[in-house]
């Protein structure tokens, strides 16, 4: 059973504002955040326009791309790959609308350089549904009206997905804490938390989905 006192954020090996920690070259910092040193540390081929050739694995597909070292994951996903589900709410690590999963862990894609995300398994909101069929988690957001304008919603859903992958039966407080890095100006928090709890229950009975 879940330990009530444990802050679910402690269970996440990568901080959501990963940029600040993962650009550090210190091995200790990498050890603290619990992941291997970022692949960006290895020299990547650079061409004369200042771009770098990288491979991104997004929702199970590999994409070869030339990116500028300054390009953030959010803009590569949205502008190069046409995956506009991750939303830019602030582009500086304040709102969570851009949340994706990196190796299964929630991450602000605006605070992640595209070159950092090489060789990681990137999951975006577009990767949760099977074609037209949405996941049990997404279905719960529909059933509980876990949104209003919907602009924060892809980020909320991804934050919830990240939580439920590490904690299958979170308490209300654990859900609130895990979702607290995702702002909803429409103020749908009451419904968002209900959605996540309903999804946790549904994933139990229906098997992880």
């Amino acid at each position: 059973m879940t330990d009530r006192k444990k802050d679910p954020r402690d269970q996440q090996p990568v901080s959501r504002r990963g940029f600040l920690t993962t650009v550090s070259t210190s091995a200790a910092a990498a050890a603290v955040v619990g992941v291997a040193a970022p692949a960006a540390a290895a020299p990547a081929p650079r061409d004369d326009t200042g771009t770098v050739a990288i491979v991104l694995r997004v929702n199970g597909r590999r994409h070869r791309l030339l990116v500028e070292p300054r390009d953030r994951l959010i803009s590569v996903l949205r502008e190069r790959l046409g995956l506009t589900g991750a939303k830019p709410g602030c582009e500086r690590g304040e709102c969570g609308a851009c949340t994706v999963l990196l190796d299964g862990v929630t991450r602000y894609s605006c605070m992640t350089l595209a070159v950092e995300a090489q060789e990681r398994e990137i999951t975006t909101i577009e990767g949760l549904a099977q074609g037209e069929e949405v996941s049990a988690l997404q279905q719960a957001f529909i059933a509980e009206d876990g949104y209003q304008c919907g602009f924060c919603t892809p980020g909320q859903v991804m934050a919830a997905e990240g939580l439920l992958r590490t904690n299958t039966s979170p308490t209300v407080d654990a859900v609130r804490a895990a979702m607290s890095g995702n702002l909803c100006r429409c103020g749908a928090y009451g419904h968002i938390v209900k959605s996540v709890q309903q999804a946790a229950a549904a994933r139990k009975t229906g098997g992880a989905k």
Binding site: C90, I142, P154, G190
Partner: protein, 769 residues
């Protein structure tokens, strides 16, 4: 570009307009019972909202599209002396640059009764963030790089951001004519001064509220594209028609040449009811380059330049007799408009929330060197409630009357500021009673005080919203041979569930399933006129038009069926997507009607009927909050909440509850955390991010939350029975929290937000821990 009329006193005159030509002046009778309307119907567009497939303006990408970036004044008050674009022009990807020196700069801006006060790019910059130039380039980073490379030389001028100081005669002037664009407006009835002399109890205090920022998750932005002289714009807006009118005027185009669409939009809260400069800039750059141009604001820009809820200073004096009846209210309200005039205060609650024979309200708005205020969810009302509802609380204590009881003694049945006309319904008394019951008010009030440093307290506040909506809206309904229905309306769905409620109304009226209804919306090129989705008017203005359009379709399809089936039309009705024949068990599905197949479509046009002329239809609310105050740290947590709303018929409990949650959440931000901070000497924004400007998170919302609907079964407000909800759900929230804090610690917290520092210092000055 015009000040938004929706919340000005003139708006109330709009309500009495006759409606559109041809409006149905024989409105449909209210439904006796409903099956689809009033049900918990999940959103019809939910799949796109959760799937990341909903396309917002921010997501639009067109072939050849360029990106626009705006150069803004870094000074709160300055004159542009020289602009050098040489370096920027030579940078990679740059296609066009416009500055204060370009002909387009002269487009008049911020129109007032006295004409334009500024222009698109004005060399006289009156706040930090005012537009001075813009670049279009192939990529966003290229445009941003070029914008940074534009060299602007400024002569800085003295700036003023403190509105109390700005009102003084020797203050630096935002405009040459001074900082008080119009004299204070006084509204009064009865004899206030005489009434105070006879009162049993009088309270008086000055309250301050902070400037709040809207911060919708999707920032403001547009995509503009020209096609043979016609302009098409995608805009993240609450009102496509207002944006279209503004664009036609700014660019001197016939209205018929401008098309504005707002597909999905990521929140506005009043800040997206009007045309923004970024939209005109996108259109200008698109015209210069012959390419589509996207111009979306960064979060930092949006915090400075696209509106705010103005800070208010409100002195309110209230008197009552021994019996608790209010005798007099005297209120002085001052607010900060920003750099251009707009109404920054509203004394409507003082005039109309309670029965009171003697009222005087003085309203004034002051110019400062900051971005212009815009409508923000119930403009002026939460500020007024903050002051008035705390005063009522204090008065109740003075009279020794329970605060709920005191309010109940003063519930009005007529609108005193609208010639004493009766309300079509007023659920205020029921909101207070049922809310108190649900909250267990009496028991909560008398609970023994805690001995620990965490003190609990409860508070109540009431509210109403004084805008009844524009009476104009048109909807077209089309029934297709397979029995599916298209509803065409210009209303934007800003996240409230408008499309879903429209589909429910249509399904109810035609006896079909909700999933047979498709909503086509918010595009001036293809949909019908609807007012902006704001001011709590969307449902009450548009759903009667939806109903009327579908009723017309129903009439036509029944006529077709009568002819085809050779029956008297009076023996036919609709149910479950089929024609029902009186006295027969068989039904004939719409899809089986040959005449419908031959017609290809049956079209109905619905106009909203005018508002009743002998009644006033407005929504009411009463909120109850329980807080915990940590007397060591000064932190306040809202732990329990009951919101009782009279918004007429609950069209959909799921989306209704969500609106109430959102309104209360905003009230929590108003009461406890939200505060725009400006640096006095420089006039620059100091709270320029969500880290510094704190809005509520999932941690701040009380999960012990209940909403109570008080549906007075209003038969007179309109043909669907709904009154407004978005604004009344937030109006009393902050005041209820402040009253709860007072109950907890015995201190009257006059300034919003109630920060931990303010709580600690209030406790330090006069004891009781």
């Amino acid at each position: 570009m015009r000040e938004s009329r929706i919340y000005t006193p003139e708006a109330i005159e709009d309500e009495s307009l006759p409606g559109l030509p041809g409006a149905n002046d024989d409105p449909l009778k209210p439904w006796d019972k409903t099956t689809v309307v009033g049900a918990r119907v999940p959103r019809i567009d939910g799949q796109d909202r959760v799937g990341g497939t909903a396309v917002y303006t921010r997501d639009i990408s067109l072939p050849g599209m360029l990106h626009g970036v705006i150069v803004r004044s870094p000074h709160a008050h300055a004159m542009v002396k020289r602009i050098d674009v040489t370096a920027a022009r030579a940078m990679p990807g740059v296609h066009a640059i416009v500055t204060t020196e370009s002909p387009e700069a002269k487009i008049p801006w911020t129109l007032t009764a006295r004409g334009a006060m500024s222009q698109l790019f004005d060399p006289h910059c009156r706040y930090e963030g005012e537009e001075v130039a813009a670049v279009a380039a192939e990529t966003l980073p290229q445009a941003a790089d070029a914008a940074r490379a534009i060299v602007v030389e400024y002569e800085t001028l003295p700036a003023i951001v403190d509105y109390a100081a700005a009102a003084k005669p020797d203050a630096p002037k935002v405009h040459a004519a001074g900082n008080l664009p119009s004299p204070p407006r006084t509204t009064q009835r009865g004899n206030v001064d005489a009434a105070f002399a006879t009162a049993a109890a009088v309270v008086e205090r000055t309250y301050h509220t902070s400037c709040e920022l809207h911060t919708p998750l999707e920032t403001h932005g547009s995509v503009a594209q020209w096609d043979s002289g016609d302009l098409k714009v995608w805009d993240s807006t609450q009102g496509v028609y207002a944006v279209r009118a503004g664009l036609a005027q700014a660019l001197k185009l016939p209205i018929s040449s401008v098309r504005v669409a707002s597909p999905y939009m990521g929140g506005g809260f009043g800040s997206k009811l009007e045309l923004g400069k970024y939209t005109v800039i996108a259109a200008v750059l698109a015209r210069l380059t012959g390419r589509a141009v996207k111009c979306v604001l960064t979060r930092e820009e949006s915090l400075r330049c696209v509106g705010n809820r103005p800070a208010n200073t409100i002195t309110v004096k209230v008197a009552a007799g021994k019996d608790g009846r209010l005798l007099a209210i005297d209120a002085d309200l001052v607010g900060a408009s920003g750099a251009y005039p707009t109404g920054a205060v509203s004394g409507y609650l003082m005039l109309d929330l309670y029965t009171c024979p003697n009222v005087r309200v003085r309203e004034s708005s002051v110019l400062i060197n900051a971005g212009q205020a815009r409508a923000f969810r119930a403009p002026g009302y939460p500020q007024a409630a903050w002051a008035l509802e705390q005063a009522i609380d204090e008065l109740a204590a003075k009279l020794g009357i329970d605060p709920v009881e005191l309010r109940l003694k003063n519930v009005p049945t007529v609108s005193q500021s609208r010639n004493g006309l009766p309300y079509s319904s007023t659920g205020l008394a029921d909101c207070l009673r049922k809310g108190a019951e649900s909250f267990d008010w009496s028991a909560s009030r008398t609970r023994a005080a805690s001995k620990s440093h965490i003190k609990r307290g409860v508070g109540v506040a009431a509210g109403m919203w004084g805008y009844g909506g524009e009476p104009r809206a048109t909807v077209i309904a089309k029934l297709y041979p397979d029995g599916s229905l298209n509803i065409n309306s210009g209303a934007a769905d800003i996240g409230t569930g408008t499309k879903t409620v429209f589909a429910q109304v249509a399904a109810e009226e035609l006896g079909i399933a909700v999933d047979r209804v498709h909503i086509e919306h918010a595009d001036t090129g293809t949909t019908q006129y609807a007012p902006g989705s704001g001011g709590s008017q969307t449902v009450l203005v548009n759903t009667p038009a939806v109903r009327s359009a579908v009723a017309a379709v129903k009439q036509s399809v029944l006529a077709l069926a009568a002819a085809e089936l050779k029956k008297d039309v009076n023996t036919l009705s609709v149910r479950d997507g089929a024609i029902v024949i009186a006295g027969e068990t068989r039904t004939v599905p719409f899809a089986a009607l040959r005449s419908l197949a031959q017609a290809q479509q049956v079209v109905g046009v619905g106009q909203r009927a005018p508002h009743p002329t002998d009644k006033v239809a407005l929504p009411f609310a009463a909120h109850f909050a329980e807080v915990e105050v940590n007397t060591r740290t000064g932190e306040v947590r809202v732990v329990r909440y009951v919101a009782a709303q009279d918004s007429g018929r609950v069209m959909n409990p799921l989306t209704f509850e969500n609106q109430v949650l959102g309104g209360v959440t905003m009230g929590i931000g108003f009461a406890l955390t939200e505060q725009r901070i400006m640096d006095g000497p420089t006039g620059k924004l100091a709270s320029g991010s969500w880290h510094d400007y704190k809005i509520p998170t999932a941690m701040d919302f009380p999960f012990a939350f209940t909403w109570v609907s008080v549906d007075p079964q209003d038969k007179d407000c309109n043909s669907t029975g709904a009154k407004g909800l978005g604004e009344p759900a937030t109006i009393p929230a902050a005041a209820a929290i402040a009253n709860a804090v007072h109950d907890a610690i015995g201190r009257r917290m006059t300034d919003a937000p109630i920060t931990p520092a303010a709580v600690v210092s209030a406790l330090a000055t006069t004891g009781r821990r």
